[in-house]
Amino acid sequence: MSSSFDSSPALIPAVARGDLAAFEAVYDRYSGTLYALLLRILGNAEDAQEVLQEAFVKVWTTARAFDAARGSEIAWLISIARSKGIDKLRSRRVRADRENDAGREISIQSSFVDKTTGADNAILSQERIAVRNALAELPEAQRIALELAYFEGLSQSEISERLHEPLGTVKTRMQLGMKKLRDRLQAFR
């Protein structure tokens, strides 16, 4: 599986062979995207940096497990970083609960907010604009449900509780949203 997002030469197979230069190139190419993702998940630079480092250790040690037939290089890297970020977020929530802390502030960014603060965004690549357009085409309710699951690591029932919506409604929204994203992915290839 390949997409226009990673048309540049594949690096992970070289990392799997122990090529340190390829590893550095992976870092240079993707660390900005992965760090942005971890900041979005964790909302805290210190934790995001710690998890980013752990994620790259995992990239180095498990590069042989990457299978280009199953997905793109960037998707594999994002999956590793997100998984580690959500693990960290959940352990922090457990700790916060234990300390009877209010825990992390919840943020759901609506597209309206993005538009308002859009001037704060920096240079956008054509690919990123295409992705954002695809996301902007999702109905707000679907996008919010997807973001709560993907960035906040919330379960179906937690999302249902948060949005004051029936569980079935939330599941349907997430499934419809994912179908649309999958359709859009076809268009990017």
Binding site: G32, A36, I86, Y150
Partner: protein, 261 residues
Amino acid sequence: MNAHEQYQEIAALDAIGAASPDEERDLHDHLGKCAECRAVRDEYAEAATLLARGLEPVPPPEDLRDRVVAAEEDNVVDARRRFGPGAWWLATAATLFLALWGWRELAMRVEREKYTTQQAEIHRLAEDNARLAQKNDKLSAEMAALASADTRQIALSGQQVAPSASARVFLEPAKRRAIVFFYNLPANAKDKSYQLWVIAGDKPQSAGVFDVTGGSGNATISIENLPVATEIKALAVTLEPRGGVAQPTNANFFVMGRSSL
């Protein structure tokens, strides 16, 4: 819906980590014996990453790169040490070599740090430049909208919970978009967001969330894809859980106004 379609719907949820434990177990059992559903699961997994790919990249601190790379350099050295010959002369030669190499590496690292600092500065300036250009474009578009002969205004007045608050909506009916300026709203708590509702038809529709911080009490939001102007009956603002909700959870309106379009 056949069994495969049901599993594929679970795969859609699994890709964003939202499948329940039972669903996840059933799905993985099925994937072990169904190549078609495995392929769909992989496509959903790839599609889910679009949520992250739309984020603006943020360069991590420069020293993090050094830490990450140094950790793996150590691993490489350890591996070579484990699998290499153990002769003492080789260790001595290696020590001398590493000492000489170390000076070279140190010099290279200094140069690399200079380079990365310069790159970061260039990146920062480019970001500033792009940000200012975007701000300029946005302001120009907003000014053009405000100045347009077709632009309609709707005044929202403060209600019981915030009598001194007000808002003014500048609506472009043809483009179904609007800019809303809010004044004298109380600052919202960190776990809350203000949410603007458009009442068109029976149900209020969310038109976006915003925060009011600091003492000014002012905020501005842009709205796209509004309902047709003649269908807009009123606009109102409530305070909701952070990030907004699908429908208002309370009727404590901060500002409200009826449309006469």
